[in-house]
Symmetry: C2
Subunit: 325 residues, 2 copies
């Protein structure tokens, strides 16, 4: 198993990436990592890279910035760590690609170079949320902000496959995020998607309100990329705000604050991008993981672990098979 | 100041409503409350109602159920507590109406009987979220799930007025919920709304990601009713999930758990519908407060207090004036 890792992606690149790769390699002796980065950026880590078993370095000439528009990048950044990493995956020289860089750029190169799985018009980003027993897989968390109803149906099928393959949940229950439980509730998109989900090859249990995201009522949550992105980030923000309240109040009661934090982290651990490693880009013809820009080495290590799961459990092939291509 | 209160609205009606009204009357001697309810439902409270100063009882013949469709209700439930309460407001016999009942029914009767403020096509529900210093006012949290861009512009103006009048924030900063900060980000709705917000008579500071809802960067948050509803409920659900985790873990460490809960409640207090009292229905020609179906007497008391603020600070007149009607 060999994974290409964009060494220039995260805010703390390349140190998060190098340390994350070393951590993952120490943990999994079957793993190989190909680090793609600028020579001068990786120079401080040269010795560590040379010493490490199963760690290769591939020099690239360009880096994609966070705010560059994907349409431009496709033309101008063909020698970037993202473009080169996706190329390695396309040629079969690696089994997966991981990046904490510009999400739009990773999606654009994935679509352009790897292509879509037949039957899936637009890919989705799927991320796991914590649930009372294990995880709930939410998609789309931001790949497609104006989807058609049929795309929500396809998200449900892809989410079912991820839950079955990676989380080993048989017949996962699928819910549609909406503003009320009754059929007929919601905006035009969810009203139409409801009908399609009823006929989809998934165990659709109906509409789900926002308050039920964490209650473990479903295994897969389907929503449009706008709502999913806001949902994910609101939870992140709320988690941080609560931790900061605990910290401030805890100054008076130092160790009690530590306790509160520990308990709270037990809960948000699963929500935290540090623990989940990142989101899976589903619907393209290859395993691609997109991590948070603020990823630490710990998050990158978890992203590599997630990539291994996606490859070993054959998620992409299962989606291809389901959609007949 | 006299407020009509739907005594049949909450899940625990009419006891939450009667006790909430008694609490509010004890707190504010200038307040009068008109309780609208079924005679038999209020019978157990008859003595308390008779004894209370400034508390009137108006008998109604019908109750609106939670799941009835608003279109039907307008025809069939004209003698309900909601219809009758809104009628009292229309005739000027009370200054505001408060209900924890069927949101769609309250909106339908408000629109039908009170009418829209000229220039506002669709009303919005606004609710306050906690922020590091005070509150952030979010609208729409669920009145209109498929708004047009111009409606988001009008939400911004109404939100500005609420912040100025009720929270006494001069020149409130307005942000638009989106999937990224840059202009041009987002779905079709937010892309078009961004342009209109730039020209609106508000201090528009741009796009806001979900993670920034609690950071105090803005005073007013504008979003469509679908996203706003999911946002609000996800926070509610996350708060409950965290409290439940604290409870479970805390069995080992009983009093420490109590501490964690207390600290956590300090934060989510502002988010909690129990504390905020409910959402303001903005854009109709009268002060209407819609409370959570799960409201306790404490929540109803806060809803009555919120209604007093809306009336005393002249929120509805200020909106009428701003929109020229």
């Amino acid at each position: 198993m060999k994974i290409a890792l964009d060494a220039m992606g995260s805010d703390a690149a390349p140190s998060s990436e190098v340390e994350g790769a070393l951590g993952a390699l120490a943990e999994d002796t079957d793993l190989g990592v190909v680090l793609l980065g600028l020579r001068e950026a990786l120079e401080p880590f040269q010795k560590a890279i040379e010493k490490a078993r199963n760690l290769e370095f591939v020099e690239v000439e360009q880096v994609v910035d966070t705010h560059e528009a994907p349409s431009e990048i496709l033309k101008t950044k063909t020698s970037s760590s993202i473009a080169r990493g996706i190329n390695l995956l396309k040629r079969g020289e690696v089994d997966a690609f991981v990046s904490a860089g510009n999400t739009g750029a990773v999606m654009a190169f994935s679509l352009f170079t790897l292509g879509r799985i037949k039957g899936i018009k637009r890919p989705a980003l799927g991320a796991s949320f914590p649930a009372p027993s294990g995880h709930t897989f939410v998609l789309d968390v931001g790949a497609n902000v104006d989807p058609k109803p049929v795309q929500l149906r396809n998200y449900a099928v892809m989410g079912r496959i991820v839950m079955e393959k990676i989380f080993h949940v048989p017949e996962p229950r699928v819910g549609l995020i909406n503003v009320g439980h009754e059929r007929g509730k919601g905006n035009q998109l969810t009203q139409e998607a409801y009908e399609l989900l009823q006929q989809a090859p998934v165990r659709f249990i109906g509409n789900l309100e926002g308050s039920e995201v964490f209650c473990g009522k479903v295994d897969v949550i389907v929503t449009d990329g706008f709502t999913g992105n806001v949902m994910l980030k609101v939870c992140e923000g709320m988690g941080e705000a609560v931790l900061s309240t605990l910290h401030t109040t805890g100054k008076k009661y130092r160790w009690r604050s530590w306790f509160s934090k520990k308990v709270f982290r037990d809960f948000i651990g699963g929500l935290n991008y540090e623990e989940s490693g990142g989101a899976i880009l589903l619907g393209v013809r290859g395993p691609v993981i997109i991590s948070h820009g603020r990823s630490s080495s710990h998050a990158i290590q978890n992203a590599l672990r997630l990539a291994c799961f996606v490859v070993r459990e054959g998620v992409v092939d299962a989606i291809k098979e389901e959609f007949g291509s």
